[in-house]
């Protein structure tokens, strides 16, 4: 190709800048699992979540943020493949009540369940609460398997964009701020007590 070295450098720099800008697009809404554990029949998870201003604004304007927490206990089959031994799923909804000026984290599938509902007078307390999750694992979630068969656990927390208001779903498909997912966080079962 009859391009000079400087041209190559220019193109490379442009690609790097574009890639960096693309990566940096997700940084305002960083959402990741810092650590997790399964202990004494409950899931403990510490998250790094720095919600974007848009998301906080949405929360303050009554938009409920619905997160789905999924934990899997995985073993290894005799063929070497990973198999799911047990799986538990929770949903936690964050929302604001203007009358009482309270933020609330609750299970949207059981909204009247007082045990899962927590109220917070400040938004920071709510974010701190979801950043330090402790969720009770249902009895028998391993399906009768011995917990020693578990090799590792995986955790994934996603914002349920499908549950956003209709008008917001289209922008949510486009805007990276709304694509909140920790991805799969995995840790060995040996690290847990169980």
């Amino acid at each position: 190709m009859p391009f000079s070295k400087s041209t190559h450098k220019l193109i490379f720099t442009a690609i790097v800048v574009l890639a960096a800008s693309a990566c940096s697009r997700g940084s305002p809404a960083a959402f990741a699992v810092r650590s997790a554990s399964v202990e004494r029949g409950s899931l403990g998870a510490q998250l790094d979540w720095r919600p974007s201003a848009l998301m906080l604004d949405a929360l303050d304007h009554g938009i409920a943020l619905d997160f789905e927490v999924t934990v899997e206990a995985q073993g290894t089959s005799w063929l070497g493949w990973r198999t799911t031994i047990g799986k538990a799923r929770w949903r936690r909804e964050l929302r604001y009540f203007p009358l009482t000026r309270q933020y609330q984290m609750r299970d949207p599938e059981n909204p009247s369940g007082t045990s899962e509902t927590r109220s917070y007078p400040a938004r920071a307390s709510l974010i701190a609460a979801i950043s330090d999750l402790r969720l009770p694992l249902p009895a028998g979630w391993l399906g009768g398997n011995n917990s020693t068969a578990v090799d590792r656990y995986t955790l994934r927390i996603d914002l349920q964009r499908d549950n956003l208001p209709g008008a917001l779903r289209l922008p949510a498909l486009i805007d990276a701020d709304w694509r909140l997912s920790t991805g799969i966080y995995a840790w060995p079962a040996s690290r847990n007590a169980g």
Binding site: G62, F97, T100, A167, R169
Partner: protein, 726 residues
């Protein structure tokens, strides 16, 4: 099989695919609009698929339209009938359909934005906020009352032992108007609890946040949402008495919000909640509705274009077929009947065209037959004209030559076919010899005579004259511009024949009326001589002798002349036999061989051609020609006669040519055919019948005779006689 599959595939691409794409776009627009407007999330999980399907549908529609545009472009380049009309109708239909859609789109966007903006009325927002404030103030009031109640209860319970707590709570639940009263021990153990509402039978230990607040401010008091339709509950928690180690106890009191207030606060909160949510979603709503409108616009525009294609095709298809059929009819093919698929004006047009085509086919057939008949008639007429011995000229009203038959060319000795299409004046300017004929024709045309006849004489050079009888007549009825026809005959031969017949009659009368008295005259003269010569005095005897001698000589001369006339008038009775022209000629020439006055030269054909002729008559002819030459050379010092025979061919017929040439003075000026008529001579003593008899004998044998001057001087008489075919 492959053809059926291809047809189905084509049907799918042309019909089903556009319909599916349009339906998909329509469904996507409806779903998006429904979700955006209603705030539901029924199809939330399918948003990505809906958008992808919409994009694919758009792409499919655009591709289909592009393909149709490309096809139309190709048809335009190939000048396929109907393509230009399709383009015009397409543009017209698009022009009709798309601008209104764009206008509606623009206004819809404008009204959409304006309408959404009107939702967020400042006064409305303030009213909602104020209502919320009132609700909050009321709840605060209630909360403070609950807090006071709880403080009093905590004071009452502070000194009680754990076992006494339950009985106290049992009574306090009613007196305090609480929903639930619970005392927790230091290990979060429930020491005593009482509930007035079955929903709150299980006390819940305050969460970390409440504990932190208790730790900070000595109590926790808040109005909590119970979730669902359970409304609000006032929750107060505070430690009981002194918090000595091992004796920390906590009172948790839940108080209800009055039932009549609950729905009001819920409504106020919900209204404010909805307003704030809408406020936040304002831009998203605009975006979503704009997208939906854009979908609808694209759908409408593309559907309009596709429909325009379909309508244009449907409308122009019969016209295209009509144009193709018209071209076929123009090319003379009438085998393309058009299918009539509708009973509207177009159907009527196609029906009429089919009928016209059938009638044209019939008319064309009739025309062809008529043309064939006309052609046949023309050929027949032309053949008749060509075989006519009468000359025929066809002229238009302006005097332009339109046709001339072969006889006309022969009679006039002019290539008239070369002048067809030219005015007679042009012919006259190039053929001055035809002027005596052309001038009367033009004159009669100028006069407008419908029928006329005139005898004209053409001078053909030298002394040759031809007498033509012209007859002209207008073609067609009066007022028609069909022109005129001129027919003419060469009367020269007829006149000559008439003269020949007259001379024959003269000869016959001479033979009867003149020859009969000659013999008695001659006998009388000889008797006078015998009786009176020698008996009369010498002078008178000499006179008598001279007179009777003259009488006898003149009678002899008259007899000779009468005999010559008799020969000329004798009916042709030829005793034709095969003979050698060389031998016959030699035999005649031998008679003159000893004549010292002339020099004879024989130049005979080596092939010795044979003839079928009457030897006596042919001998007479030769004698006449030689005698004519001898008389013509009477003044010459060295008269010389050359007789030659040759073979030749004229017009495919074999002839023997016999030429008698002399070195005399040549033919007199103005010598022509007339000199072969009787009693035409330049000699003093000639009877004027020699050449006439020679010509008559030649014609009796089917031959002809012609005289001309020799380049070296003298004249040559050439006789052509047909050769013996055997």
């Amino acid at each position: 099989m492959a053809r059926v599959a291809k047809r189905w595939l084509s049907f799918g691409v042309r019909r089903v695919l556009p319909a599916l794409a349009i339906l998909t776009l329509l469904a996507a627009a409806l779903l998006l609009a429904r979700d955006a407007a209603g705030g539901s999330n029924r199809f939330g999980a399918y948003y990505s698929w809906i958008l992808v399907a919409s994009a694919i549908s758009l792409g499919v529609l655009i591709l289909i339209i592009a393909q149709r545009l490309l096809r139309l472009s190709r048809e335009l380049q190939r000048r396929i009938p109907g393509a230009r009309l399709t383009r015009r109708m397409l543009l017209m239909l698009i022009g009709l359909a798309v601008p209104p859609v764009l206008v509606v789109y623009g206004f819809s966007l404008f009204f959409l934005n304006a309408t959404i903006d009107t939702w967020f009325n400042v006064r409305l927002e303030k009213g909602l906020n104020d209502a919320l404030e009132i609700g909050s103030a009321y709840l605060g009031e209630r909360l403070r009352a609950a807090e006071g109640n709880s403080t009093q209860l905590a004071h009452d319970l502070a000194d009680l032992s754990d076992t006494e707590l339950q009985s106290h709570l049992d009574s306090a639940i009613d007196t305090r108007g609480a929903t639930q009263l619970t005392v927790f021990g230091n290990d979060r153990k429930v020491l005593a609890t009482q509930s007035a509402d079955p929903r709150f039978l299980n006390p819940v230990y305050p969460d970390a946040n409440a504990l932190l607040q208790i730790k900070d401010s000595g109590r926790y008091a808040a109005a909590d949402h119970l979730g669902g339709d359970n409304g609000l509950i006032l929750r107060v928690a505070m430690p009981l008495g002194d918090a000595t180690a091992g004796r920390e106890r906590m009172l948790l009191a839940l108080f209800p919000v009055p039932q009549q207030i609950q729905p009001l606060t819920a409504a106020v909160e919900q209204a404010n909640f909805d307003f704030q949510r809408l406020k936040f979603l304002r831009d998203s709503l605009k975006l979503t509705f704009s997208l939906v409108l854009t979908f609808v616009l694209l759908l409408s525009a593309l559907f309009g274009v596709l429909t325009a294609f379909g309508v244009a095709r449907r409308l122009t298809a019969p016209i295209s077929r009509l144009a193709t059929a018209t071209q076929a009819v123009g090319a003379g093919r009438y085998d393309t009947p058009l299918p009539v698929a509708s009973d509207d004006e177009l159907g009527f047009l196609l029906n009429s065209f089919n009928q016209m085509q059938r009638e044209l086919e019939l008319a064309s057939g009739r025309l062809s037959r008529s043309a064939l008949e006309t052609d046949s008639q023309r050929t027949y007429l032309k053949a008749v004209l060509e075989r006519l011995s009468t000359g025929v000229l066809g002229l238009d009203r302006e005097g332009v030559l339109r046709t001339a038959n072969h006889a006309a060319e022969t009679i006039l000795e002019a290539p008239l076919s070369r002048y067809v299409g030219q005015h007679l004046t042009v012919v006259r300017s190039q053929r001055a010899d035809l002027q005596p004929m052309i001038d009367p024709i033009l004159a009669h045309m100028r006069e407008g005579a419908r029928e006329w006849r005139e005898e004209v004489v053409l001078e053909a050079g030298g002394s040759e004259r031809r007498v033509l009888m012209l007859r002209g007549a207008e073609l067609g009825s009066a007022g028609d511009d069909a022109g005129i026809v001129v027919v003419f005959d060469d009367l020269t031969i007829l006149n000559r024949a008439q003269r020949d017949a007259a001379w024959a009659e003269v000869a016959r009368r001479l033979a009867h009326e003149v020859k009969n008295p000659l013999t008695p005259i001659q006998l009388a003269a000889e008797r006078l001589r015998r009786r009176f010569i020698g008996r009369l005095p010498p002078d008178e005897t000499e006179v008598l002798d001279r007179a009777t001698h003259t009488i006898v000589n003149q009678v002899e001369a008259l007899k000779a002349m009468v005999n010559a006339f008799g020969d000329y008038a004798r009916p042709p009775m030829i005793d034709a036999r095969a003979l050698s022209i060389n031998a016959l000629t030699s035999e005649v020439l031998d008679l003159y061989e000893n004549d010292q006055r002339i020099q004879l030269t024989r130049n005979f054909a080596a092939s010795d051609p044979m003839l079928r002729a009457d030897a006596v008559r042919l001998r007479q002819l030769l004698h006449n020609l030689i005698k004519n030459s001898l008389e013509a050379m009477s003044g010459e010092r060295k008269p010389h006669i050359e007789v030659s025979t040759t073979e030749g061919e004229i017009g495919g017929r074999a002839f023997v040519e016999l030429a008698v040439a002399d070195n005399g003075p040549g033919l007199p000026e103005g010598f022509g055919d007339r000199w072969f008529e009787p009693y035409t001579t330049s000699k003093v003593k000639g009877t004027g019948l020699g050449l006439a008899v020679a010509k008559k004998i030649a014609e009796e044998h089917g031959g002809s005779i012609r005289a001309e001057n020799r380049p070296s001087g003298g004249a040559v008489f050439t006789l052509w006689l047909p050769r013996d075919a055997a």
